[in-house]
Symmetry: C2
Subunit: 364 residues, 2 copies
């Protein structure tokens, strides 16, 4: 591993602490730390080759560049990504969601360690600001994948935007591509199943895994509507000790629900499995399920079809988001929308009149 | 009922055939039939008062005006709607969906007739171009609610855009408001559970009803993902003859699924009921369920809260749709998006580069 001093020389003003050795907290870089100076110029070709060589510090730096909101950095980041694009796509992309307290971090660490021991290079990314990976665990669980972070086969990258929802998480897809270029075989993407992010994650992964606890009905109450129907597999977690019997019952209940619901992936019947990350049971079943999924999907070539569809959808979503973002960037317009909304809710004007007023005044 | 001659005098160039007496087909008016002439001026105050008086031919005319794509008509339609807004909101709005062949038209006619006999004024609207109401029944069922159409307590309005998907169905919400102003107590909105329209309908109704047949698992395969989680109630239809035992089993299966899923309406546990429109059994149970729902929701004031939320969401959806529509109106832009999409899928550029190229060239 390069020394911090060397690293800083390579990066110029782009200061990135080595997050692998120092635990994930050290890797959280706030965009405000970027100062635009002469030294800022990055040798993109060099960085690209370092990423391709699997240098973790360079991968960290590349991700920080991707996440930067600085215009120059953005352009450099896209150049870097374009150079690396031909080397992406070889991993298996797995999304993992579940309500807070389901034990996502513990599960990801246990699964990740098992995969490392199987000789797989594993990258872990988090989407949500409230993710346990960034220390936001509601149940006070302080597990931060320390064991996995120290493993040379693993790369653990925390949520880019702890505490903010500024859309930085939209870079997760590009971060995933960087990890693929760096040679990671399995990408695990953690998200919390309570917001919008799981739909976003579903749109960028091959396999989507839902983590639940025993007591299916109660558990689902706290879950976002429709999340069951995004899942290719369900893990009934903490299936250990006194909980084993209850967990088995819950597995049966989820199997029944999965039988009724339309599959998240055409041609794949979703499975429910009991897992204990504590006792390390059921983890190999999960991996076997995912491998079986991969084989089935590659046999029907749906694997490739879905990835192309996902890229296309990503492009169109970005077009729509850009249009809407730029329209609402104007503060006056936000105020105007609010006051039109008020008038509509009071029954003073129709919705169509409100929209028409907004656009006619916006055009002035 | 007014004669066709009188009707034409009132409407000027706006020619609308009387759809109630003549069956629904006669009511389908293509926008191209509207010619802008001097005679086109409509007395909005007069039309508004006629609608308020419950004159069905005037209601038909008002709906045709709402559906017109002519700019002048659009403005008049909004003026009319603004006048009528204070008189809207008193009905119960019910969305009804189900796969083709579930017998939606037959069910709506049977339910509608029962409600008319209870002294309710019932309006029936259809959203989908493929709706059975516009004659698109896949199973060749020619039932077109003829009995209900002839009932003086009922108003049956077919899909406004048979065969086209030009967004005219977006006027359904406004059509619903017109029916409310005309004094209809119950609005039944039919949609086919295979497209985007059921989410749209869910966003404009109080109660959402899903029609299914026996064999829950198989049935759901043909249904859109997530549709189960939109439903406040499920009707297992054609529960008659040899089918009764199977239907009872299916009801139990759906009850179990509903138990696991998060309720479509907070505070309301979805119900599944067997119904035969043929033997007229179970229809009063459906109505009782809906009345119970109304009471429960009004007790918690969620009834009003949701309606305000729906109006707000409608406003924001219309803003977004207008932005995106106007951006893509340009034919060159469509071609450009297609070619950028191609380049992205070939790996020639990143998605962000594609978006950036689109907007920089669009600005020139």
């Amino acid at each position: 591993m390069e020394s911090k001093k060397n690293l800083q020389e390579i990066q110029g003003a782009l200061y990135v602490r080595d997050g692998v050795k120092g635990g994930h907290d050290g890797m959280t870089i706030q965009p405000k730390k970027f100062k635009k100076t002469k030294q800022d110029t990055i040798d993109i070709a060099k960085l690209a080759s370092e990423v391709l060589n699997g240098q973790r510090t360079s991968l960290s730096k590349a991700i920080t560049l991707i996440e930067s909101s600085n215009a120059e950095h953005k352009e450099q980041a896209q150049k870097l990504l374009q150079e690396l694009l031909p080397y992406t796509g070889e991993s298996i992309r797995i999304g993992i969601t579940g309500v807070p307290g389901a034990g996502k971090s513990t599960f990801i660490e246990a699964l990740g360690m098992m995969l490392c021991n199987l000789g797989k290079k594993v990258a872990v990314l988090a989407i949500d600001p409230s993710s346990t990976l960034s220390g936001g665990s509601i149940l006070g669980d302080k597990t931060r994948m320390e064991e996995l972070s120290r493993n040379k086969m693993a790369f653990v990258r925390p949520s880019p935007n702890a505490g903010t929802l500024g859309g930085v998480h939209k870079k997760s897809r590009e971060t995933m591509l960087l990890c693929e270029a760096a040679g990671y075989d399995v990408i695990l993407i953690e998200t919390v199943g309570v917001g919008q992010s799981e739909t976003y994650v579903r749109g960028m992964v091959d396999f989507f895994l839902l983590l639940v606890l025993t007591g299916a009905g109660d558990e689902l109450q706290g879950m976002k509507k429709g999340i069951m129907e995004l899942a290719d597999g369900i893990v009934v977690h903490k299936s250990d000790g006194d909980n084993i019997q209850k967990a088995r019952k819950t597995v049966r209940e989820y199997r029944q629900i999965l039988h009724f619901l339309q599959p998240a992936t055409p041609g794949w019947m979703g499975k429910a499995l009991p897992v204990s990350s504590l006792e390390k049971t059921g983890l190999s079943d999960v991996w076997e399920m995912i491998c079986q999924f991969e084989q089935t999907m590659k046999d029907t070539s749906f694997w490739k079809t879905r990835r192309l569809e996902q890229t296309k959808e990503w492009f169109h979503t970005m077009i729509r988001d850009s249009l809407i973002d730029s329209f609402f960037q104007n503060t006056d317009r936000k105020i105007q929308v609010k006051s039109l909304e008020e008038a509509i809710l009071q029954g003073e004007m129709t919705v169509a009149q409100g929209v028409s007023k907004l656009f006619s005044e916006g055009a002035r």
